[in-house]
Symmetry: C2
Subunit: 251 residues, 2 copies
């Protein structure tokens, strides 16, 4: 069925990578064959699974720049239904090469076309900017998820971002949909969490996921266990949040 | 004396903007004439002081793209010793124009030269990427501060980033110094805070500031008060942290 979902936001540190890793794990648990693709040159999705850089042969860099086959960059984690393509950008020269090759916005789309039908879901992790990799992800995706931390500038930034994506979509990917806006890092001890949640409901009612991801230490500790939270503490609020999100998406 | 300090990191959401706003406020409180410059096209430093976009006439965008005088972009906040230059990028076309003009890496440096001696400190807020605005900030700065959140990939990302900056410094700004690495968002309830702090001490001993900025709700709530935490709750851990940092820098 090959549904491609890009997880993107221009704001940094809002849980794009955490969402890709944990939503991916949840979809896998629920029986959906899932591929995680790291398009962030600074990305370290592999490190969430305690795979060291020296164990990685090929990644999205090698596929896009050196025309390595996508199938040669897919890492099997030994976890049912979950595979990943690391970013594998080792230094700044490689980052520049990736950027230059990425100027052809549809290169990622054509690469994913070669393996799309092997998976139920392909999740694309994006860097915190509207650069070539994010634009490639937007050109390739069927839909996008925008994680939003409930902090004071979230609404303004979100409005601008959605405008930009709509315009880009009209030019380069008219079928691009908004899967949903996901509230992340919700901290119930902070008054702003409730305030901004309400503002988001007022402004973006139809697009907000019902699921809210709470701030939960299990999610940030997960890399020290080498696996997503659902695989070592499935009843933690963070794990439950992402499982619910997966169910919401699968409906 | 005009010391220019760029606050920069490739990781998103680590407190670059929070550091610029609160360190700036602290330097002002300690009697140093301080200017905050927002080089982030997505930036909203003004919103921390409850200034609305429609109240802003000129910003770094107008100075760099339309050759407006820097002095015409400086906003007096009515706070002693503290002024700001907003980013004032209103839409994507402006963001592209800023990018294109920013390809001349020394344009920010020459702009700042016109007002450098009017201040004791000029703090530059950077976006979460090594794009044209960050490169301009690095070319213009006397020194840099790198905020680091103690999370599991912080060390690896930091090492790569410092390498990149060193190389850039050699080419474009040989006198560029590392003012220090600042641990931010330190959460004493998380075991990883202490672990990563220790790893940072082991790897970057001489460059770590003694001051650590704790996670403190006063810092994230500040925008709802329209002023940095030190101006409404000076004894909060967040305020005290940034005041100590200012003292450490002034020495
Ligand atoms: N719900 C959560 N609870 C606790 N910690 C979280 C949660 N979501 C994310 N984090 C932590 O917050 C930090 C930032 O998250 P993450 O790296 O996923 O954001 P990002 O949007 O991918 O950042 P970037 O913009 O740099 O790519 C990480 O240390 C992560 O472990
Ligand atoms: N010490 C702290 N305690 C509590 N909240 C904090 C602290 N530092 C930053 N924050 C909050 O964390 C969020 C991210 O901080 P901030 O915007 O300063 O990071 P940034 O590095 O500038 O992000 P970006 O990479 O998007 O520019 C904001 O909501 C901010 O209020
Ligand atoms: Mg990320
Ligand atoms: Mg910022």
């Amino acid at each position: 069925m090959g549904k491609i979902i890009a997880v993107t936001s221009q704001k940094g540190g809002v849980g794009k990578t955490t969402t890709v890793v944990n939503l991916g794990a949840s979809l896998a648990i629920l029986g959906k064959k899932t591929l995680l693709v790291d398009t962030d040159p600074q990305g370290s999705i592999v490190a969430n699974f305690q795979i060291d850089d020296y164990e990685v042969q090929n990644g999205i860099f090698d596929v896009i720049v050196n025309k390595v086959l996508m199938t040669d960059a897919i890492i099997n984690l030994g976890i049912e239904n979950l595979e990943i393509v690391p970013s594998n950008v080792r230094n700044e020269k490689q980052e520049v090469d990736l950027f230059t090759h990425g100027l052809q916005k549809h290169i990622l789309k054509s690469i994913l076309a070669t393996i799309k039908e092997d998976y139920d879901y392909i999740l694309l992790d994006c860097p915190p900017s509207l650069g070539t990799m994010t634009l490639n992800a937007l050109a390739a995706a069927d839909s996008i998820i925008i994680p939003v931390q409930p902090e004071y500038f979230a609404i303004r930034a979100l409005g601008r971002f959605i405008k930009t994506i709509r315009r880009f979509g009209q030019e380069s990917n008219p079928k691009l949909k908004l899967e949903g806006i996901l509230i992340t890092l919700y901290d119930k001890r902070l008054k702003q969490s409730k305030e901004i949640h309400q503002e988001l409901k007022n402004g973006f009612q139809d697009f907000l996921f019902d699921t809210i991801i709470p701030r939960n230490s299990k999610l940030s500790e997960a890399p020290s266990y080498g696996k997503p939270a659902a695989f070592f503490d499935v009843s933690s609020p963070g794990s439950v949040g992402y499982l619910k999100l997966a169910e919401e998406i699968i409906q």
